[in-house]
């Protein structure tokens, strides 16, 4: 599984053996911050700071749950 920015699609895409997923802007912003180091809370804070928004926590957690379910992400203790 690899995440990369694709200029031709103007999007982040997830690449894996059987397919690829083109992420929308929000999903790309979240996924590109999932670096195995930062916590979800830190990612939320970064996103809120970067985009000048508040109250993103619910949306981010919902997306992370989806990504875990689809095995785009894995949890590390």
């Amino acid at each position: 599984m690899r995440l990369q920015w694709e200029p031709a699609q103007e999007a982040h895409v997830l690449l894996y053996p059987e397919g690829m997923v083109k992420l929308n802007g929000s999903a790309g912003a979240i996924m590109s911050r999932c670096d195995g180091v930062r916590t979800v809370a830190e990612i939320v804070a970064d996103l809120e700071r970067t985009y000048g928004l508040t109250g993103l926590s619910g949306d981010v957690i919902a997306f992370v749950a989806l990504a875990l379910d689809k095995r785009w992400l894995e949890l590390r203790a």
Binding site: A8, Q9, P17, E18, G19
Partner: protein, 424 residues
């Protein structure tokens, strides 16, 4: 739009994954591709069939039966040019296949170039020719993923179906794959002669630490078309195999994901082959022939361009062959007025041609096709035969994929699975 191209030695996975349609796969489709020339998106999936040479002799190979009549393989420099041109257009998923791609001694430099360009690189291999040293070199070059094909779980049948003693070698390669940190992905082409071994196959996959197993029922192109009467399973076989698969899924959960690709002869709607020809998938044959699907060489009247003569942009956007099946203008009834035409694009053009003689017809897998009886008749023959080979199969022995046999194939006769060697 789905971006899963069919990969795999048996042409097993199709489109939904591109990979086949993966009809049965949980494949995530990307959104509509950005539009390029005339509303056409980029060739997101590039498949390079580096060679038709192969140490195996699989009876279900999708390669053209007349491969021995095709021209010389492209040299390294041409493959590298193809990689660069396709990547510049937006290609990002790369399959390296064949034949057996490990036969090419320049596989490592090709992988290195593809990696530098940003491709996600899948090697589709039988494992024959893999060594510790090559595995290390491929890993260092940036190979992302390996799909290992396995003919069956018992050595005897494995050797019979691939006609070489490769079973132990594959077990070693599977261990090498894991040792080098790759997910263990196994592709097994199923058919009448091995489908009853699905339980053993899955036990073996589990023992090998496989994380993904694709049980891809044979699709009937190339050598598999030639051997169809031997390979088509009965419905009872299919149902047993699906039952066994389901029990493994329940027991193993997420630990080993199993994709079971049903043979489309048992469906009533066709696969959305390649997400529509000329939509996301571009294949290049060993001799440089560019194809909108890896079986498309057989299609009559399709003047396939060659990468020796044209660049990839011209081929993808402007060649008549790649535009031939874009849109819906080529469709005949019942597809033309069908509410489902935007979902399955009329099915597979190659199957329509092989079964009806006209690539513009609806894929006869569809029960709305006036030719659907051709498919149900083949299934009925498989049913009547019980556990023995169907009568039609007994009249002609299995044909193993072989260079000498290929030389003898009558070109241009689809009944023989042959297609004229064609160069633009």
């Amino acid at each position: 739009m789905s971006a899963t191209p069919p990969v795999g030695h048996g042409l097993g996975a199709p489109n939904a994954a591109v990979g086949a349609t993966p009809a049965s796969r949980d494949v995530q489709a990307p959104g509509p591709p950005p539009t390029g020339t005339r509303g056409v998106g980029p060739p997101l999936w590039l498949l390079l069939e580096l060679t038709y040479r192969c140490p195996l002799h699989c009876v279900y190979c999708y390669n053209p039966t007349n491969f021995a009549h095709t021209g010389p393989e492209l040299p390294t420099a041409d493959w590298i040019r193809v990689l660069r041109e396709a990547r510049a257009l937006g290609a990002v998923q790369l399959g390296l296949s064949g034949g057996e791609p490990l036969v090419r001694e320049d596989l490592e430099p090709l992988v290195a170039e593809a990696h530098a360009l940003g491709f996600y690189i899948n090697l589709i291999t039988s494992g024959v020719g893999m060594s510790e040293a090559r595995m290390r070199a491929l890993k260092a070059a940036g190979l992302d993923h390996i799909q290992l094909s396995f003919q069956d779980s018992t050595r005897e049948l494995n050797d019979f179906l691939s006609s070489t003693r490769t079973f132990e070698l594959k077990s070693r390669v599977a261990a090498l794959i894991r040792q080098h940190g790759y997910p263990m992905v196994l592709n097994v082409v199923l058919h009448r002669l091995n489908i009853d071994h699905v339980g053993e196959i899955l036990e073996l996959a589990e023992a090998m630490g496989a994380e993904y197993v694709e049980l891809a029922n044979t699709q009937y192109y190339g050598w598999a078309w030639l051997n169809r009467e031997h390979l088509l399973p009965s419905r009872a076989q299919l149902e047993r195999a699906e039952g066994v698969t389901q029990r493994f899924r329940e027991r193993l959960g997420n630990r080993m994901q199993i994709y079971f690709v049903v043979p489309d002869y048992f469906e009533t709607r066709p696969k959305a082959c390649m997400s529509g020809l000329g939509s996301v998938f571009l294949a290049v044959a060993p001799d440089g022939t560019a194809m909108p699907c890896h079986a498309a060489r057989m299609l009559p009247g399709l003047e396939l361009p060659n990468v020796r003569d044209s660049d990839i942009r011209t081929i993808w956007y402007h060649s008549p062959a790649f535009n031939r099946f874009r849109g819906e203008a080529w469709m005949k009834e019942p597809c033309r007025s069908c509410p489902e035409r935007g979902r399955d694009f009329g099915g597979c053009r190659c199957q329509a041609y092989l079964l009806t003689g006209d690539p513009d017809n609806a894929d006869p897998v569809c029960d709305l096709s006036p030719h659907h009886a051709l498919v149900t008749a083949a299934v009925a023959r498989a049913e009547q035969a019980g556990s023995a080979a169907p009568a039609a199969a007994r009249e002609r022995p299995l044909v193993f994929r072989d260079h000498r046999v290929s030389i003898a194939v009558v070109t241009g006769d689809p009944a023989r699975g042959g297609a004229p060697a064609r160069r633009a």
